[in-house]
Symmetry: C2
Subunit: 441 residues, 2 copies
C-alpha cells in the first residue's frame, strides 16, 4: 500500500483508518511517512498498547525522542502495558525528574484517580497579580505543563486554596490579585477515587479538569477530561461485554488472539450450561405429566424464554442505571415495587397474547384437543408468573451483586435468562398440574 | 431536609447527591441555598432537561440571569428539551445576537456535530504576533468566548488556516507570528457528522476541541471534549439498553414514568414472544417423536439456551466492536470465519460436558434407559450444531443490520436468543431423529 516514496504525504487520518489491520512493520513504515507535527499528534493519540509496540520496535535513538513526547500520566500507562523486562528499557530513556514522576504514578492502581492524573499542572500563588499570573503560566507552559485550562492557587504547603479558569484569568482586570478572582469552593477527588466515579463527576459537571488531593489535602495532580472520554468508553465496553455474558476484553476485537477470546467466553458459557442442566432435572420430575400430555412440552421454550427476555431487559436497565449513578442501593425497595408492578402488567399482556394464540390456532387446526381453553389458561397464567418473576429477579440481582461488592454487570442477560428458565419450568408445570388435573392430566 | 436557614451553606456536591429524588420545589429551594459561584457551576453542569425545569419555575427576572449564563450550544439543547410553547419564553430572554446564534444552532439535528457545536471560539489572524494574539484572546475572553484551549487562525473569508493550542501560544517567542507557530494540518468535522463519529475522533486522538466546517470550508464553531463525555455516555447507554432488548430511554430511570417505561419495553417483548411461538410450532411437528421418547423433551431448554447464550455473547461483542470502530462492514468474512471456528470449539466443549452429564447421571440414577449413550450423543451433537449456528448468527446479524442502515445494537441478546431458539428446536429434533431412529424412536 505504501511502497512508493511518492505516497509520502500520508495524512494522520488515513493512517488511523488502516491502523487496526496493519502489521507492526507496516505500522512503523506508515508512521515514518507522517509529517513531523502530524506524527506527534498521531503518536500521542494512540492507545498505550500501540505506543508501546511502536516504541519497542524503534531503534534506541528514535525511541528516546518519542518517549519524551509523552506526559507522565501517559508514560505510566505505557509502562504498565508492557512486559516488566521492557519497562526498564523505556524508563531508562527518561531524564531523572520525569522518571521520578512516572515511578510515583506507577504506584497508583491503574483505575484510580491517582493512576489517571497528570502531576504537571499550572500553579499560581494567591497573592500574584493577574498579569504576573499570566506571565508565570507562560513560563510554565514553556517548561513542561501540559494542560493550562485552569490555574491552581496553592499555598507553600501545596494545599489547594482556589482555582481560576483561563477564561477568568483573561477576563479579570490585569492589576487584580489571583485571590480576588479565584473560586474557593473547589470540587476535588482523592487519589484513590475509582475512575468510574471520576467519570461520573466529569459527566455531571462538565469540567475540563479536576484536581487530585492526597489524604493531607495536598494537591498531587489533575485529571483531564480528554482522559475521561477513554475511561467512559472503556467502562461502557466492559459493562456491555459483561451484559452479553462474557468476561470483559482488554483490547479491541481483532487484537485479542483466537484462544484468548475463547478463554473470555467459555467460562460463562460453561457456568450457564451447567445451570441450564437444572432445567432437565426440573423437567424430569414432570415426565409423567409430559407423557400423558405431550402438548404441554410444546410450550416450554415459549414460556421460559418470555421470563428470560423480560429478566434480561430489566437487569440490563438496572445495571446501566447503577453505572450512571441514576439509582442507589438504598432505592432497592422503590425499584422492587415498580418492577414487580411492571412485571405484572407485561405478564398480563404477554399472557393474553399467548391465550389468544392457542385459541386461534386451535380454531384453525384443531391442534390442542378438547381442553384447549384450559391449556390456554395454563399457558397464560404461567407466562404471567414467569414474566413477573423474571422482571423482579432481573431488577434485584444487580442490586444484590452490588450490595455484596460484586460488579452488577455480572447479572448478564444470559445469566438472568438461565436463572429464570429453571424457575420457569417449575412455575409452568406446577400451574399446569393444578389447572389440568382431571382433564388432560 | 433544608428547612432551617442555618443549613444555608449547602454545597454543590450535596445538592447533586440528592438532586434525583427532589421535587421541583425542593430543587428550587436547594438551588437558591447555593453560594453564587457554586450556583453558576451547578446550573451549567445540569442536564438540559433539568435546566429547563428550573428556569421555567423561576420568576421572569431571575430567569433572564440564568438563561444568560449558558453558552449558545447549551441554550440550543435547553430549548430543544422543552415544549414548543415554552421555547419562545426562553428565547425572548436573550439579547438579539445570542438569539440569532441559538436559532442557527436549532436548525441542526441534535445529534450532529452542528448540534453539538459552540459558535463562539477563539480566533486569531495568521499575521498577528504571538503577543498580539494573546492580547486579542484576552479581549475575546472578556467578551464572550467560552473555551480557549485552542485559537483558530482564520482568513477574511472565515476559512480555517491553522490552529494553535494555548500551550503552543504560551511557549512561543513573543515576537514570532501566529503563522510561524500554528499547525496547518488540522483535523476537522463537517456540520452533519454524526455525534457517534465525532466521539470516535475525540477518543482516538485525545483532542480538547475540534473545529466544525461547513461545506464551503468556512469555520462555524467548535465541539469541545466536555460535551463529548456526555455523548459517549449517552451512546453507550442507548446501546446497552438496546442490547438488553428494549428501546433506548431518553431520561434517567426514575424520571421515566411508569407507562412510558412500559411502552419502551413491551414492543420488543411482544415481538420476541411472537417469535418464540414458532418454537411451539416447530416442536409440534415432532410431537410423535416426543410421545414415543418423552426423555427427548427434557433437554430442549438446555440445548436451545446453549445456542441462545453463545449467540447473545457473540452479538454483543460484535455490536460493541462496531460502535467503537474496531471493526468495519468489510471485515465480515474475517469475522464470519473466526466466529464459525470459535463456535465449533465452544460447541465441542459444551457438547462433551453435556454428554458427560448424561452418562454420569445415568450411571447414578439409571434415568435414561438402555440407549442413554445414543441419547447423549444426540444431545452433544445438537449442542455442537446449535452453538456453532448461534455464534455465527450472532456475529453476522449486527453486520447485516448495519449493512441495511439499521442500528446493529438492535441485534439484542434476547433477539438473537429467540432466533437461535427456533432453529435450535429444529436442529435438535432432526439430529435426534437421525441418531435414535430404530432405537428410542
Amino acid at each position: 500500500m505504501m511502497e512508493s516514496p511518492q505516497s509520502a504525504s500520508l495524512s494522520e487520518e488515513d493512517l488511523h483508518e488502516v491502523w487496526p489491520v496493519l502489521s507492526i512493520d507496516e505500522r512503523l513504515e506508515g508512521f515514518r511517512l507522517l509529517p513531523p507535527a502530524a506524527a506527534d499528534d498521531f503518536f500521542v493519540g494512540l492507545s498505550a498498547r500501540d505506543q508501546a509496540e511502536l516504541i519497542l520496535h524503534l531503534p534506541p535513538g528514535e525511541r528516546r525522542t518519542w518517549v519524551r513526547v509523552l506526559p507522565p500520566d501517559d508514560l505510566a500507562d505505557l509502562v504498565q502495558s508492557v512486559e516488566p523486562e521492557h519497562a526498564e528499557a523505556i524508563l531508562s530513556q527518561l531524564d531523572d525528574a520525569s522518571r521520578r514522576e512516572v515511578n510515583v504514578l506507577l504506584a497508583y492502581a491503574e483505575d484510580d484517580a491517582g493512576g489517571l492524573m497528570n502531576p504537571r499542572f499550572a500553579r499560581v500563588r494567591p497573592d500574584m497579580s493577574i498579569d504576573e499570573a499570566i506571565g508565570y503560566l507562560r513560563k510554565q507552559a514553556r517548561e513542561k505543563v501540559e494542560t493550562v485550562y485552569y490555574a491552581y492557587a496553592l499555598d507553600a504547603g501545596q494545599n489547594l486554596l482556589g482555582v481560576l479558569s483561563l477564561r477568568q484569568l483573561f477576563q479579570a482586570a490585569p492589576d487584580k490579585k489571583v485571590a480576588d478572582v479565584m473560586q474557593r469552593d473547589v470540587i476535588t477527588v482523592a487519589e484513590n477515587t475509582d475512575q468510574e466515579a471520576v467519570g461520573q463527576l466529569f459527566s455531571e459537571h462538565g469540567f475540563m479538569a479536576l484536581p487530585v488531593l492526597d489524604e493531607a489535602g495536598r494537591m498531587k495532580g489533575i485529571v483531564t477530561v480528554d482522559d475521561i472520554v477513554d475511561v467512559v468508553q472503556e467502562e461502557a465496553t466492559e459493562d456491555i461485554q459483561k451484559v452479553g455474558g462474557m468476561e470483559a476484553l482488554e483490547a479491541p476485537y481483532f487484537e485479542v488472539g483466537f484462544f484468548g477470546m475463547l478463554k473470555k467466553r467459555i467460562g460463562w458459557l460453561l457456568v450457564l450450561f451447567l445451570g441450564q442442566m437444572l432445567t432437565a432435572t426440573a423437567m424430569s420430575s414432570f415426565e409423567d405429566e409430559i407423557a400423558s400430555a405431550v402438548v404441554l412440552s410444546l410450550f416450554v421454550p415459549l414460556i421460559i424464554s418470555s421470563g428470560g427476555n423480560s429478566g434480561s431487559q430489566t437487569s440490563t436497565l438496572i445495571i446501566r442505571a447503577l453505572a450512571l449513578g441514576e439509582m442507589k442501593l438504598k432505592d432497592w425497595w422503590r425499584v422492587a415495587r415498580r418492577e414487580a408492578l411492571s412485571g405484572v402488567v407485561l405478564g398480563v399482556v404477554l399472557g393474553l397474547v399467548g391465550l389468544l394464540r392457542i385459541v386461534v390456532w386451535h380454531t384453525v387446526s384443531d391442534a390442542y384437543g378438547e381442553h384447549f381453553l384450559l391449556l390456554g389458561c395454563a399457558v397464560a397464567l404461567s407466562v404471567l408468573g414467569v414474566v413477573t418473576f423474571g422482571t423482579l429477579a432481573g431488577s434485584m440481582l444487580p442490586l444484590v451483586l452490588r450490595r455484596f461488592g460484586f460488579d452488577p454487570a455480572s447479572a448478564s442477560a444470559p445469566f438472568v435468562a438461565t436463572l429464570v428458565d429453571v424457575s420457569g419450568v417449575l412455575i409452568y408445570f406446577t400451574v399446569a398440574s393444578m389447572i389440568l388435573r382431571g382433564t388432560l392430566l
